[in-house]
């Protein structure tokens, strides 16, 4: 098991007003993303727990690309990973941002 957290600056705050959302499940090749609006609105924090060790560089690249595309300012993402591929990680992160914009 490997844990790490990645902190980024965000161009602008994420949309919506929802405080919390969750997407995905922890299964083989899948992951869950818990997203909470709890950090300063020009920052983004991603905390990762993964069963696949030694992929820090790939996580860095995926998260940097995600922050660049979606500018999820103010959001903290907590990830439990079951060995998901990078494209699945990108998809779940995008779904998490989208869910925070949905009215509740």
């Amino acid at each position: 098991m490997e844990d790490f957290s990645l902190r980024h600056d965000a161009r602008q705050p994420a949309g919506g007003a929802r405080k919390m959302a969750i997407v995905g499940v922890v299964a083989s090749g899948n992951l869950e993303v818990l997203v909470e609006r709890v950090v300063p609105e020009r920052e983004c924090l991603v905390e990762i727990r993964t069963t696949a060790e030694g992929f820090g560089a790939v996580w860095n690249a995926v998260v940097a690309d995600f922050v660049d595309r979606y500018s999820p300012g103010g959001l903290k993402f907590s990830i439990n990973d079951g060995g998901a591929r990078p494209d699945t990680v990108s998809l779940r992160l995008a779904q998490a941002v989208r869910l925070m914009e949905v009215e509740q």
């Binding site: 919390m20 499940v25 869950e32 993964t50 779904q95």
Partner: protein, 311 residues
Amino acid sequence: MSTTSMQAAIAPAALTSWYEASARTRVRLLLDPESFMEFVGPEKREVSPHLKVFDLPEQFDDGILVGHGSLGGSSVLIAAQEGSFMGGAFGEVHGAKLTGLLRAARDIGSMPVLILFDTGGVRLQEANAGELAIAEIMRAVIEARSAGAKVIGLIGGRAGCYGGGGLIAGCCSALAVSEQGRIAVSGPEVIETNRGVEEFDSRDRALVWRTMGGKHRRLLGAADAFVDDTIQAFRDAALVLLEQVGGFELSTLTNEQVRLEARLRDFGSCADAVDIWTAEGVADAGAVPALPVNQFIAVADHVRRISHDTR
């Protein structure tokens, strides 16, 4: 990009497969819109204390969500297992969440509980804690029912309802099952391992489905309602069962004992589920596994009316 999943997320209950849906989707589409309020949600991070010992990944809700919502305008308590996380298995925290929900139902006394089973049984990495959880939940189901709460089980997920989950299901006031919903205690491979392939060939999928699948459980009277594999069908069945289920008295249990004794007497010598269906009076028992849902429901209603003074 994510359009497909977003469309699935807003698809109405009638178009969404129960079998394929996640626990959270089932709860959202089963209950009245926007009525679900979760207890001990994922943001509390009440994860398993045992999995890290095995270097296994945790899930923030430990594979079950519990909470409160409304169904047809009436308040209900609800629990839903996520079959994709470790086979929906019961661990310490997972079990404690369901026990707590049932004890709340006992204390309230009138609010029904819906349990959306999707489980292979005890999570063996947490063996003793998981086994204890099953015992606590069974007691809590009976206490809730004794206090006046109806406990309805809904079964149609990928993991089925096995092991301790099958025992808990047996304690419920009523069960609704789809064709995909298997109910048993020992799974096919466990039976084969312990009793030999002559007793049960776990690779014979047709045998597994006609022995443990929803159609057989409905024809045996173990499940009270048989439904199509949509969230809407389960919602409709839950509403009907909540209306039909009677009280829980000593006579309920004695009637249930009589029902089970009669079942053993009538079918105890049958070697296969098809023999049981034939003995029950199904005209073409061999055709049952292939019957479409509506035709099967008509056959089942004809041969076995469910008595609501048992269980």
